[in-house]
Amino acid sequence: MARTKKVDTTQAVAGRSPWRLGWDRFRFNRVAMVSLGISIFFFLVAYLSSPILAILNLDPYAMDRSAIDLDNFNNPIGPWGGISTVHWLGVEPGVGRDVFARLIIGARTSITIATVTSVLSISIGMVIGLIAGYFKGRVDEAIGRIIDLLLAFPTFFMLIAIARPMAERLQVALGVDDKNIATIILLVVLLTIFGWAGLARLIRSDVLSLREREFVLAAESLGASHGRIIFKELLPSLWPKAIIFLSLSLPGFLTTEAALSFLGIGIQEPMPSWGVMLEMAVAKAYTVPTYFLIPATTLIILVTALNLVGTGVSDAFDPKLERNQ
């Protein structure tokens, strides 16, 4: 039901860009805004983790022997996993490393992997989807086959099967000392390889209908080049889809990284990531529950917040949705 609004004719009618329209709708979604705030907070803490730890004088790799009870299976001293004024979230059983320090440094690793992967998959997905939809014919057919192939692969399964041995080869090829650097690069590359196909398919079908619209025909008849039509005419109308995809893929990649490291296939000790922390904590989950519950809760909060932002974004930016405005 559309309500008629009185138009104030004294004011100049300002055109509002799709961005502006979407943002205005998003702003009034209270749940989404709160979630956005939480997500931004997590990102800030993750990327400011080094200065934060420097100020607090904490080190994610330092072992505090005084915080663990050597007579009691090296479990943390004190209740709640050794939470104290020095160790805000307690210490690790066994080695006594600070959980808070590891949590925020680990957040940086996990969030970086998820963000870079999302951005890469979206860029590739958009470009390939655009090319397939724009040039149609054989190009489209060839790309369609590749997408079919990628989507038929059991992605998570493949990742598990190839990540570990490939990381070793990559480490040798790059000549780096830390295997985790190779693992991070590899995770990003592999997740991207399997991640772009879904979006490319969506974009392709959009472009197929968009390219028959008048503004594209107009540009064509004015002699615009393929590049200009693709990037200047078609691309702007596809951004909303990319934003929706970004907000939904970010939590997805975050959990995938955590799950892989949890299975012992992603990042390895001593580098912290949320998955590594959870993997380490499993054996102690029964005796020192906080050690497991802290990274678990943090992961769940961030993923939930990102998912809610994602829902909010798709509500705000989806042009097909009917609204009572």
Binding site: A152, F156, A161, I265, L278, V282, P289, A296
Partner: protein
């Protein structure tokens, strides 16, 4: 119609070939010598070389692939004389680590995965649809809100966390449910059921939320269609309207989705199987990865891909049968 099915099947077979090729090349390019992995620490070069020839790793890669394909159709013999062994068709390779043909390993690991998959998919599709209907019928009411919150949490909780938490707290701390173990259903059904119960729920949670949300959308959408109003106007009971009219158009998209989900699950629910120690395909993969047992990894990956390709094929064919609007050349 027949031509469509024929062409679609051919395409699926071609896709499977390409997948097997990609997987094979990918694993052959990995940085180890599969032959030197065949025996332990005190191993002589002669033994390694003998094993290399016996397992066919001395051949060029394309020949290895041809042998691999041959094995699938006619079986494969390794070596000659006393030390030889045979894997009958369909042979997917030989695991030297486990001293067993990959196919028989897969066959042993398949039943637990099938039970896990069928149980959880049934649970999530069934409960999801019922919850979705409930939410749609009480739109804006308490059930709708509860389900909204539930779906947000269920989609945000990674399976490995819910699974681990259930294991630690429900089983470890309170001992409400028997510890993980695997029983054959036809040997000890009560034990089978009580140990599979938790894995089913854990695996079903995210899917359940998605189906609830989808069904809610479908019911609300078709609920405002003319034919539903007509049905109501001619005085049909609400139950008939819901099940015979409102839900009918949702049938084919939901079947498609369920079939594809089942196929994904049949490839092995790696995380759940690992956490609950279910001896299925997922756990087999994880173990093989840790032991660098390459032939088994190749086998499980190809099998998992085959499930997806076949499910896609079945769904496409069913679609053209169920839905009269889809008439394909």
């Amino acid at each position: 119609m027949g031509i469509y099915i024929f062409r679609r099947t051919l395409y699926a077979i071609a896709l499977l070939f390409v997948i097997s090729l990609v997987v094979f090349v990918l694993f052959s390019a990995l940085p180890f010598d599969p032959a030197s992995l065949t025996c332990g620490k005190n191993c002589t070069t002669e033994v390694i070389e003998a094993n290399r020839i016996r397992l066919g790793y001395d051949l060029p890669m394309w020949e290895q692939y041809v042998k691999f394909l041959q094995g699938i159709f006619i079986g494969r013999d390794y070596g000659h004389g006393v030390a030889s062994f045979t894997c009958p068709a369909p042979a997917l390779g030989y695991s030297f680590f486990r001293q067993e043909c990959v196919t028989s390993l897969l066959i042993t690991a398949l039943p637990p995965t099938i039970w896990l998959a069928i149980g959880s998919v049934t649970l999530w599709v069934g409960t999801g649809i019922l919850l979705g209907i409930w939410a749609a019928r009480r739109r804006g009411g308490a059930p709708d809100h509860i389900i909204n919150v539930l779906t947000v949490f269920a989609t945000s909780m990674p399976t490995f966390l819910t699974g681990q938490m259930a294991l630690t707290f429900l089983i470890g701390k309170f001992g409400w449910i028997p510890p993980p173990d695997y029983y054959e259903p036809y040997q000890n059904f009560p034990k089978f059921f009580s140990t599979m119960f938790l894995p089913w729920i854990v695996l079903a949670l995210p899917g359940l939320a998605i189906y609830a949300r989808l069904t809610r959308g479908f019911v609300l959408e078709t609920g405002s269609e003319d034919f539903v109003r007509t049905a109501r106007a001619k005085g049909l009971p609400e139950k008939t309207i819901l099940w015979r009219h409102t839900l009918r158009p949702a049938l084919s998209p939901l079947t498609t989705l369920a079939a594809l989900d089942l196929a994904f699950m049949l490839g092995g629910a790696v995380v759940t199987e690992k956490i609950f120690s279910i001896p299925g395909l997922g756990r087999l993969t994880i173990q093989s990865v840790i032991q660098y047992d390459l032939p088994v990894i190749v086998g499980t990956t190809i099998l998992a891909a085959a499930f997806i390709v076949v499910a896609n094929l079945i769904v496409d064919i069913l679609y053209s049968v169920i839905d009269p609007r889809v008439r394909l050349k």
